[in-house]
Each structure stands twice: as structure tokens, then as C-alpha cells.
């Protein structure tokens, strides 16, 4: 297609030897004669300067080496949609073969849309240059359901401007466009069910709030955008947010998520059913994948599918019980208590573990016995520290001894006999525990061990003869 360089060349997308760029300037650059095009490359390191030459600024670039001046004849403007289609299919029986055609006039360019009611326009694949800044798009695509605008350099403002021509759009793919979401989509994009914003590194959580009220948005793909935190300001701990009301499936792979607070926030989404969260610092690393999976399941109550694996009820039950047990000691230290009247864990704990109270209600508060940390199996951990008292003798001192809990009563008596110089057969043993004041338990069976009688460290042995 022969192109004359009129002023509307500014903003056109071009290609030189495989590298893509956008035209920013066209005109004379002294002292060299002839027409030059000033282009800003997609790849910021490709160029030589930032749009200025010998002191004069001709155009602006985002990076200091993002721009170059090129002769117009070295530049490939690409072809429009129709020509690209013809080039591709002309050897085959052309599009006339297909069933239906709808010719839609946009501006003054007839564009053939091939196919049936759902049309997929693969703009990036056909090397289409998206005419940025087209002022009036008078045509509409009344049946357009799926639109792919990956890597076209489009801006959010342009998307919203054109969106009035897509009244029934359901899926919108905007990957790798360096998008910066600048405004809320007021009356447009309201039918969108799937939005793919992956690889747009400029997006942060505040921009996400601008798209949070799309009523039908069911799937949101946010892979590789560099997000690490999120916080829904309209919902307190344990409450649901009004944002993203229909969001069922969220993808946050390949991000910088490293805090559990992110996962806690996701629990606030009212309709969330499926989550994909792989290749994040939180999920990679030394901890077992299994533990991380369990923790995510426990922290997000309504999740049914995690990383494309269904969460079965048994898995959820196991994960929640483990979570409740794992943080039980922390909960107690923070003021938690089995007795509901005394149960007042402080704010910090509740923020870090918003579902904890709910899990206690569901499964009951964790018992102390569950929370006992298992000591490693060393001999010294098996020893009971016992006091030995002699109620019938007044003058004998109270001894303290460490005895293994597997020691039989017979052996204990033997030890005491040697100690007190009293024959074994005359000894009568019992014990009392500070946990049960006033009660004395007789240790009458010589063959049983201290453990059998539940003697614990800190108890007191009473010896009579």
C-alpha cells in the first residue's frame, strides 16, 4: 500500500526489521536534508536518543534511548486488515466460501468480518497496526463477544473510547500493553465477563479498584503484573467487600506475592470460587507445596478450586483443622480462650488470622492437649520432676527427684527403701497433684508404672510406713 506522508502518519505503528515502533514525528531535521520520521521503539534500548537532536527537541520518548530518526522508505507501515486477510487466504478459496459475511463500515474503511456471530479479531497476529487516536468510531460491532488486543500498544483511554462500540463484549484480552488504568469504565464494558490484564507491569492495586465495579466480571487474569499487596478498604477484618461482586476466578500467577495478608484479603471477595496462585515468592521457597496449599485453602473459606485442582470436602476439613491447631498457641498468647466469655484475642492476631474465630466456632476451640508441643524424644524429656514428702515423719526433708515416667512402682519403692533405710514391704505410696488439691491417689499396684497413674512433673509423692 502506497503511503503518502501526511500528518496523520503520527501515531501510526510501524515495523523496521522486526522491531516495532510508533511514529512520533515527521518532518525535516537539520542539518541533514530530506524527510525524516521520528519513531519511538517498543524496545526502549533500541534507539539512539530520546527525541532530541543537537539540542532541539523534536519529540518525546519515555526512555533516553527510546527514539530514532529513520528515513520513511525504510519503514514498513504494515497492511490494513482487509489486505492482510486477502494475502493470507488468497491461495485458498477466499472468505467468500464461509457462510456469513457482515460488512461493517468504520469511518470510511470497509472491513470484512468473517465468520458467525462470535468474532475473534486477532489484531496482534495479523500485524495490524491499531490506529491510535482515531477520533470518531461511528461503527459498532453489535455482536462482538471476544476481543483480543494483546501487544498492540493501546491505552486504557482508547479502550474506553472504543468500548461504546462493543455493547455485548464478554471477553477482553489486553495483555502486555503497558496499561495504566486511568478511569472507571462508566457505561461501557459492563457486560465483560473475562478481563485479561496480564503482563501490564504498571498496574497496581489502586488501579484495580477502578475496575472493581464491573457487574458481570467473572474471571480476572492478573498474571505477571508485579503486584504484591492488596487491601479492600471498604471491608473490615472478616467482612466481605462490595468490590468485584461477581468475580469467581482470579489468576495471580508470576507475581510478587510474599505475604499471607494478600491471601487473607482474598477471603473478602464475595463470589470467589477458584484461584490460581503459582510462581509467587509465597508459594515457592523451602516450605512444602502441600503446606502452602493447605494454608491457602484454610484462609479462603469459599474456595472450591485451587491451582486448577478441585478442593474436596475432606481436604478442606483437614486443612482447616491443621490451621486451627498450628496457630493455637499464638491464639492463646494473643488472648484467646476456650471459654467464649474470656475469649478476646487482640486486634493484631485477628488481622493476621481473620478466619480463626470462625474455625473455632466450626470445629470447637483447640484443646490444650492438642496444642502441647511434642518434645523431641530425649531421655531428659521423659523424666518427671517429683517432690517426695513423708507425711508421717515430721523431721524428714522434702526431697526432689527426677524419675522416668516408665518406672514401675516396685522400682520406686526399691529406690526409696535404699534411701530411707526402710524395708520395701512396709512402704505405702500415693501422690497428690497441684492440679487436684486435696485429692490423694494411691499407687497400689507395684507392677504398673508412674505413667499408668498419670503422674506428671511437679506432682508430689507421699511416702508412709
Amino acid at each position: 500500500m502506497n503511503d503518502t506522508l501526511t500528518s496523520d502518519v503520527i501515531g501510526r505503528r510501524v515495523e523496521v526489521n522486526g522491531e516495532h515502533a510508533t511514529v512520533r514525528f515527521s518532518g525535516i531535521v537539520p542539518p541533514v536534508a530530506g524527510l525524516w520520521l521520528g519513531v519511538e521503539w517498543d524496545n526502549p534500548e533500541r534507539g539512539k536518543h530520546d527525541g532530541s537532536h543537537e539540542g532541539t527537541v523534536y519529540f518525546k520518548c519515555r526512555h533516553p534511548t527510546g527514539g530514532s530518526f529513520i528515513r520513511p522508505n525504510k519503514v514498513n507501515f504494515g497492511v490494513d486488515f482487509l489486505t492482510a486477510v486477502k494475502n493470507r487466504y488468497v491461495l485458498e478459496d477466499g472468505p467468500e466460501e464461509d457462510g456469513k459475511e457482515q460488512i461493517v463500515i468504520i469511518g470510511n474503511k470497509p472491513v470484512e468480518t468473517i465468520g458467525f456471530d462470535s468474532i475473534i479479531k486477532q489484531q496482534s497476529e495479523n500485524k495490524l497496526r491499531f490506529p491510535s487516536g482515531s477520533p470518531s468510531r461511528t461503527g459498532t460491532f453489535p455482536a462482538l463477544k471476544v476481543l483480543v488486543l494483546n501487544r498492540t500498544g493501546i491505552t486504557w483511554a482508547e479502550v474506553l473510547r472504543c468500548a461504546s462500540g462493543w455493547p455485548v463484549l464478554e471477553e477482553l484480552y489486553l495483555e502486555s500493553n503497558d496499561l495504566f488504568i486511568s478511569e472507571r469504565p462508566a457505561d461501557v464494558l459492563q457486560t465483560v465477563k473475562l478481563l485479561d490484564l496480564s503482563s501490564n507491569q504498571l498496574i497496581d492495586e489502586n488501579q484495580l479498584f477502578l475496575i472493581a465495579y464491573l457487574p458481570r466480571l467473572e474471571q480476572l487474569i492478573l498474571s505477571d503484573i508485579g503486584i504484591s499487596t492488596i487491601h479492600f478498604p471498604d471491608a473490615g477484618t472478616g467482612h466481605k467487600t462490595a468490590m468485584f461482586p461477581s468475580l469467581q476466578y482470579l489468576v495471580v500467577n508470576d507475581n510478587q506475592i510474599s505475604q499471607w495478608s494478600f491471601i487473607n484479603e482474598l477471603d473478602k471477595l464475595p463470589s470467589l470460587q477458584a484461584l490460581s496462585c503459582i510462581r509467587n515468592p509465597l508459594t515457592e521457597g523451602s516450605k512444602e507445596a502441600q503446606t502452602t496449599r493447605q494454608l491457602i485453602i484454610a484462609r479462603i473459606g469459599q474456595l472450591k478450586t485451587l491451582n486448577k485442582c478441585e478442593i474436596l470436602p475432606e481436604e478442606r476439613r483437614g486443612a482447616e483443622l491443621d490451621y486451627r491447631k498450628a496457630f493455637g498457641n499464638e491464639w492463646k498468647k494473643a488472648g484467646g480462650h476456650q471459654d467464649p466469655d474470656k475469649n478476646r484475642p487482640h486486634e493484631q492476631f485477628l488481622e493476621a488470622h481473620p478466619r480463626y474465630q470462625l474455625l473455632c466456632l466450626k470445629y470447637g476451640a483447640p484443646e490444650d492437649g492438642e496444642l502441647k508441643l511434642h518434645q523431641p524424644f530425649l531421655l531428659k524429656n521423659q523424666l518427671l520432676t517429683l517432690k517426695i514428702k513423708y507425711p508421717n515423719q515430721v523431721d524428714q526433708k522434702v526431697l526432689e527427684k527426677q524419675l522416668p515416667d516408665s518406672m514401675t512402682i516396685q522400682k520406686v519403692k526399691g529406690l526409696l527403701a535404699r534411701l530411707l533405710k526402710v524395708p520395701v514391704s512396709e512402704l505405702l505410696l500415693s501422690y497428690e497433684s497441684p492440679k487436684m488439691p486435696g485429692r490423694e491417689i494411691e499407687l497400689e499396684n507395684d507392677q504398673q508404672s508412674l505413667q499408668f497413674y498419670s503422674v506428671e512433673s511437679g506432682d508430689c509423692l507421699l511416702v508412709r510406713w
Binding site: 483480543v148 495483555e175 491451582n307
Partner: protein, 444 residues
């Protein structure tokens, strides 16, 4: 004309079959009860008005129902009951679902001799009925696993009988080969070697897939943390659909069942091509990559897209069959193949200069709703007969040797009526097969 009968044997075969027929129904606009969608519904499902090419796989009854030309058989009822009670229960005629009472217990001898022999007559009769409904039966597609008792034993019995009754019909197999590091049965090597030996002269072409390769694909490419058999079978279903697309749709460059044989099998015994499928893209990454014809063709030669674990760089290609589907034009295909041939890593044997067979079908790949794969505009399935497959056989034979040296687990086979001689005979046959492959790879 050109009808194909699918036979699904054993748990693996039946579950793969379930995934395949579900996919075929989606592709042809057939509802779970066998009725075709009317033209409005077809349009909303994005399907063209079908010509009758799918009669190769479906049989139309007078009531307007479309019944698959398939037979599902197993020696125990559990898995088949799953189909009888499942979503597609009204798709199949009850006579197409054959189940016994006592299973083969992972034992080739039971599947082949004792338990299998009781059911084989019934099975052959049902096959006869299905074959009578065909005006020009092309051949059989048999789905089974190597490692199970039914899949190995009953299949070898069936193949022998089919060779006798239908000697001129093609028999293509889709076999689940025992994975190198993941195994589901201790006696897999015994079953695999025995069944390969008995089926070697009866099968015309055996396409192999293995679970471990597909687990890895699901885990790394599709982001599925713990792949279930359902994910795996769906992926296999896509590959099978690609292979059979030419038989079910009209296309610019069709490939028949017999054409596979002619182009892929240089010698009768060397009939084990490897399957590769591209592109495999997660539904979360839809439309991300440029997926041109050359991209997907290059992906086929990538180790990570293979459905069998074996390194083709260690061997030479004898023949390649590239089956494209979707938005593909011959111009692009030729360019892509030329690019492949010039690559150093793709080495062909000296005695096979051209090497490529191409099939093109315009029907784009369909995905199961709620599945892991993204919908793409074009896909390719490559069947390559490469000498590197000998690595797979060598692995199997090695495991067989380790167990057989101690005669471990042998008594289970002996007590069902087998002899040790059969084992050594089978092992020798496989050793000869390995030698045949090595000879193929040698230069003049």
C-alpha cells in the same frame, strides 16, 4: 463408507474413550443423548452445518439418534458401570458396553487365557454386529494400556481373533505405555512385554502415550498442581481427535487410516510412532502467544510437548506425519517444514530423504468447557517414527530382566495356564525388536 470402529479395552482404554467421545460429541454438535443440535443451536455453538462425514464414527438410527461406532469392554463391571450411569449413558447402546464379573487382576495370563477366553466370544459377536452396520469398514482403533491385565491380555487375544476374521482391515492402537518412573503395578513390565510380543504381528500401527510425560505437561504447561486422570485423558483425547479429524470432517488434505500405515511404517515390525501435540496452552494464558503454523510445528520437535518420555535427539527420524487442524494454509505448512528440515537437531535416517506426510483439516480444535486447555485457532499432532523409541523398549526390557532373573511373581502367570517358555520367547522377540530399531538408525 470408510467407517471406523473404536474398541476400548480395560480401565485405561475405557476412560480415554470416555474423554474422546465426549470431545467428538462437542465437535459435531451431538448432545449427550445422541441427538444432533438443530441449525440454530449449531450456530450458537460455533459449528458449521455438518456434512455427513461424521458417519465414519457415528451411526444414525431411524429415530435420528447418533450412536457411536464403539465397543467398551472390561473384565470387571466397576468402570463400565461408570459409563452406564454417567453423563453419556444415553449415547451408547447397552450392547456396546460389555463387562465381565471377575477382573484380570493385573495379570496378562488371566486376561488372555482364563478369564478373557470366557468373554471373547461375546465380544466378537458384538463387533460383528457393529461391523454389519458399516457399508465399508476401514478398520479398527483400539485403545488400551500395556500394564493392566485386561489391557494386555484381553487385547492380545482380541487382536488375534480380529486378524482371523477381518484380515484385510487396518488395526491401529493407542496404547498407554508404562511410565519410566511412575508405575501403577509391579508386574507392568511382564504384562507389557508379553502383550507386545503377541500383538506385534497383528497391529498395523501403535501410537504410544505415557502418563509421566502427560503429568509433566499438565503440571508445567497447564498450571495444574495435581493432575488427575481426567486432565490427562482430556489431553490424550485432543491428540486422538487431531489424528482422527481427517476421518470425521471434510478437509483440504485428508489422511485416511491406511495412509498412516503406508507413510509411517517402513518395516512391519517398526510400527511404534511417538505422539506429540502442540500447542498446549493453559486457559489462563489464552491468546498470549503468536502461535503461527511455524511456531506450532517447531513446538512439535520440542521434548516438552511429547506425550511419551523419550529423547528424539538420541535417535533419527524415519518418518513424520503432521496433522494440522484449524486455520492452516498449505503455504505456511511448506515454509514451516522447510525450516524444520534445515535444523540440525532434526536428523533423518539416510534412507528416507523426504520424511514428512501432511494432513490439513479446517475444523479448529474444540475445548471442553471447564477444561485446562485454551481454545486455539490451530493445532497440530505429530506422529513420528523415530529410532529413539528403542530407549523406551530398552527400559522396559531391563525391568523385565530384573524380575525374570529371580522368577519373581511368575507363579501367578503359571497357575493360570502359561508356561515359562512364553516369557523367554516374548523377551527374545523384544530383544530382536530392539536390534531392528538399531539397524534402522545405522548409516549405509
Amino acid at each position: 463408507m470408510r467407517e471406523c470402529l473404536s474398541i476400548h479395552i480395560g480401565q485405561a482404554g475405557i476412560q480415554i474413550g470416555d474423554a474422546c467421545w465426549e470431545l467428538y460429541c462437542l465437535e459435531h454438535g451431538i448432545q449427550p443423548d445422541g441427538v444432533v443440535l438443530n441449525s440454530d443451536q449449531l450456530e450458537s455453538a460455533n459449528l458449521e452445518h455438518m456434512d455427513t462425514s461424521f458417519n465414519t464414527f457415528f451411526c444414525e438410527t431411524r429415530a435420528g439418534k447418533h450412536v457411536p461406532r464403539a465397543l467398551f469392554m472390561d473384565l470387571e463391571p466397576a468402570v463400565i458401570d461408570g459409563i452406564r450411569a454417567g453423563r453419556h449413558r444415553s449415547l451408547f447402546h447397552p450392547e456396546q458396553l460389555v463387562s465381565g464379573k471377575e477382573d484380570a487382576a493385573n495379570n496378562y495370563a488371566r486376561g488372555r487365557y482364563s478369564v478373557g477366553s470366557e468373554i471373547i466370544d461375546l465380544v466378537l459377536e458384538r463387533i460383528r454386529k457393529l461391523a454389519e452396520q458399516c457399508s465399508g469398514l476401514q478398520g479398527f482403533l483400539i485403545f488400551r494400556s500395556f500394564g493392566g491385565g485386561t489391557g494386555s491380555g484381553l487385547t492380545s487375544l482380541l487382536m488375534e481373533q480380529l486378524s482371523i476374521e477381518y484380515s484385510r482391515k487396518t488395526k491401529l492402537e493407542f496404547s498407554v505405555y508404562p511410565a519410566p518412573r511412575i508405575s501403577t503395578a509391579v508386574v507392568e513390565p511382564y504384562n507389557s512385554v508379553l502383550t507386545t510380543h503377541s500383538t506385534l504381528e497383528h497391529a498395523d500401527c501403535t501410537f504410544m502415550v505415557d502418563n509421566e510425560a502427560i503429568y509433566d505437561i499438565c503440571h508445567h504447561k497447564l498450571g495444574v498442581e495435581r493432575p488427575s486422570y481426567a486432565s490427562i485423558n482430556r489431553l490424550i483425547g485432543q491428540a486422538v481427535s487431531c489424528i482422527t479429524a481427517s476421518l470425521r470432517f471434510e478437509g483440504p488434505l485428508n489422511v485416511d487410516l491406511i495412509e498412516f500405515q503406508t507413510n509411517l511404517v517402513p518395516y512391519p515390525r517398526i510400527h511404534f510412532p511417538m505422539t506429540t501435540f502442540a500447542p498446549i496452552i493453559s486457559a489462563d494464558n489464552a491468546y498470549r502467544e503468536e502461535l503461527s503454523v511455524s511456531d506450532i510445528t517447531a513446538a512439535c520437535f520440542d521434548f516438552s510437548n511429547q506425550l511419551v518420555k523419550c529423547d528424539p535427539r538420541l535417535g533419527k527420524y524415519m518418518a513424520c506425519c503432521l496433522l494440522y487442524r484449524g486455520d492452516v494454509v498449505p503455504k505456511d505448512v511448506n515454509a514451516a517444514i522447510a525450516a524444520m528440515k534445515s535444523r540440525n537437531s532434526v536428523q533423518f535416517v539416510d534412507w528416507c530423504p523426504t520424511g514428512f506426510k501432511v494432513g490439513i483439516n479446517n475444523q479448529p480444535p474444540t475445548v471442553m468447557p471447564g477444561g485446562d486447555l485454551a481454545k486455539v485457532q490451530r493445532a497440530v499432532c505429530m506422529l513420528s517414527n523415530t529410532t529413539a523409541v528403542v530407549e523406551a523398549w530398552a527400559r522396559l526390557d531391563h525391568k523385565f530382566d530384573l524380575m525374570y532373573a529371580k522368577r519373581a511373581f511368575l507363579h501367578w502367570y503359571i497357575r493360570e495356564g502359561m508356561e515359562e517358555g512364553e516369557f523367554s520367547e516374548a523377551r527374545e522377540d523384544l530383544a530382536a525388536l530392539e536390534k531392528d530399531y538399531e539397524e534402522m538408525g545405522q548409516s549405509f
